[in-house]
């Protein structure tokens, strides 16, 4: 028995509960796969663009997949509170942030499974990626930190809304709307200038630019955000933005959880 044994137990419990609801694993995959494998190739033909566009959109759909998956994971927090064992866990001799971190670990594992599945489908469809080890070194932290931040948003929202219906009603605004202006389907410079400026402040814009830089070697998204500079320094700046997003949302979600769990 070590100090993190309870954290492992909490993660195992969350994993077992998630595994009993396969829809949590597969439903969030449907829309991104549709975009990556059906809509992007169709747009390529319709707009007479090249195969690079398919790769562009394939990475862009990761920016939809991560928010959808993490927001779905947040639903389980409400289920736990309404009809699950949350009160038992609150009475357990474990630090309460472990309850959030245990859920986060499983949300990350589920997200990783889905991102790998999406990339696997894309590769099978003949979409090209040019990722070397260095590229993965940018892609992985960007994807992980963005997922951590989004799970923080999901957990905080779940702590603040009383019912599942209210939670679900807020999901599109958090998970889908930013995706349309964060450079997922087209560069942010194609937006009206005021929206381009808003997009530069979105963590998703930085996350997508980093993931494209890592998987495709395409630094145009970073240039669209930062203007000029070396690709590496712009990537580091964007990584710092995504890391700050992850940190703030995780700390915030723990605070929200503590406030709602302890009256």
């Amino acid at each position: 028995m070590t100090a993190i044994t309870p954290l492992i137990t909490l993660s195992q419990r969350r994993f077992e509960l998630t595994a009993r609801r396969p829809r949590e694993l597969f439903v969030p995959l449907i829309t991104p796969i549709l975009f990556a494998l059906v809509i992007a190739p169709a747009l390529k033909v319709a707009l007479h663009t090249g195969s690079a566009y398919e790769s562009f959109v394939a990475v862009g759909t990761i920016g939809l997949l991560i928010p959808l998956t993490t927001m779905f994971s947040g639903l389980s927090v409400i289920v736990d509170r309404e009809s699950g064992a949350q009160r038992e866990l609150l009475a357990a001799p474990v630090p309460r942030p472990f309850l959030v971190l245990g859920n986060l670990a499983v949300a990350l594992a589920v997200t990783a499974f889905q991102v790998v599945a999406l990339l696997g489908f894309a590769l099978a469809r003949g979409i090209d990626f040019h990722a070397g080890l260095a590229g993965l070194g940018w892609f992985l932290p960007a994807a992980v930190l963005f997922a951590v931040g989004m799970y923080g948003a999901a957990e905080a929202l779940a702590g603040r809304v009383p019912r599942q219906e209210e939670y679900i009603a807020r999901v599109p605004a958090i998970a889908i709307v930013p995706w349309f202006i964060a450079g997922a389907l087209f560069p942010i410079t194609a937006l009206p200038s005021f929206l381009t400026w808003i997009a530069r402040f979105l963590p998703l814009t930085h996350g997508l630019a980093l993931m494209r830089y890592g998987l495709l070697g395409d630094s145009s998204g970073l240039h669209d955000i930062w203007g000029s500079g070396s690709s590496t320094s712009m990537a580091l700046l964007s990584l710092a933005v995504v890391a700050l997003f992850a940190l703030v949302l995780t700390v915030g979600s723990i605070r929200v959880f503590n406030r709602t769990a302890v009256k």
Binding site: T5, T9, L17, A85, R87, L90, A91, P93, K263
Partner: protein
């Protein structure tokens, strides 16, 4: 094992759920917190299980301050909640194992303990099935087994029989009664069932509007109301009837009323003589005599007290 001093809790908005209560529960004692919904029982349990922060006073569980040492206080205690608090899609055994692991019980010891408890509580045959298929009583027994897996020094039972059918309720009361005989286990039980408190608790604290209005052994609380009670349905004005009975030395300050039913504790008189006098006065449409119950104590302490109103 449990020490509560001047404990208070005022919720945002000014609702005073607990208003400066004091009590101590000794090792091995079964202590009942008795009161209606809103009396402050669940808030008190919430403070003791560290899910509610008190706004005043102190509370210690197993010697640990619940505000300053919440982890230590939780380590020595377990709770059975009023409403179902289980992972329904998991099997019963997994619910027990998770509790054991969170309370840092060694896996081998946990396995033995789970086998003992599921046998003792009669759920060994269904512990490997998903909890979603359990009946209310089976789930309650599972929750009780779960609370005991970590061999707590203090067990909190928050209205443990609410919603159960009478047969299952009796079974569960027998189980809790057996637990109460264990010298090493201190039990704090909240209930609004008077028979439960009377049957299980060594001592009872009666809570009303956030305050403890009586604290004693159940039989001593009952004895406050004398050897017998006379209960009469009053024909006309309750105040006039009470004054008449006081003048004749039948009723004292501890008479109490619910609606038009007046209950008179008899300390020195026999029921026979009291009934004769009441009949002479022609005050009652019906009249009966019986021994006092904890229910009478509770109504007298928390219900309308005619002595004050008359």
């Amino acid at each position: 094992m449990i020490e509560v001093e001047q404990l208070s809790k005022v919720y945002p908005g000014g609702v005073e759920a607990v208003a400066g209560i004091d009590f101590q529960v000794g090792p091995g004692e079964v202590f009942g917190l008795l009161g209606p919904n809103g009396a402050g029982k669940s808030t008190t349990i919430g403070v003791l299980t560290t899910t509610i922060l008190p706004t005043g006073g102190t509370a210690r569980v197993g010697g640990f301050d619940v505000v300053r040492q919440p982890l230590a206080a939780r380590r020595v205690s377990s709770v059975v909640f009023q409403e179902p608090v289980v992972d329904r899609s998991l099997i019963g055994r997994r619910n027990l194992e998770i509790h054991a692991s969170l309370w840092q019980v060694e896996p081998r010891a946990a396995k033995t303990r789970i086998a003992e408890l599921t046998d003792a509580l009669g759920i060994a045959a269904l512990v490997d099935r998903p909890v979603s298929g359990y009946s209310g009583g089976e789930r309650r027994r599972l929750e009780l087994a779960r609370a005991l897996v970590s061999s707590p020094s203090v067990l909190f039972l928050d209205e443990p029989t609410v919603g159960l059918d009478p047969r299952i309720r009796q079974e569960l009361l027998e189980i809790v009664g057996r637990l109460g005989e264990q010298a090493e286990l201190t039990i704090l039980l909240t209930t609004h069932y008077l028979d439960e408190a009377e049957r299980l608790a060594d001592r009872v604290a009666v809570m009303h509007e956030g305050r403890i209005v009586a604290l004693d052994r159940p039989e001593r609380l009952r004895r406050r109301l004398g050897r017998e009670l006379v209960e009469l349905k009053v024909r006309n004005d309750l105040g006039i009837a009470l004054n008449a009975l006081r003048e004749r030395g039948i009723a004292g300050d501890d008479a109490f009323a619910i609606g038009s039913t007046l209950t008179i504790p008899l300390h020195d008189l026999t029921a026979h003589r009291a009934i004769d006098t009441i009949n002479e006065l022609g005050l009652a449409s019906s009249i009966s005599a019986r021994e006092p119950t904890l229910d009478d104590v509770y109504v007298q302490l928390t219900g309308a007290r005619l002595a004050a109103a008359a």
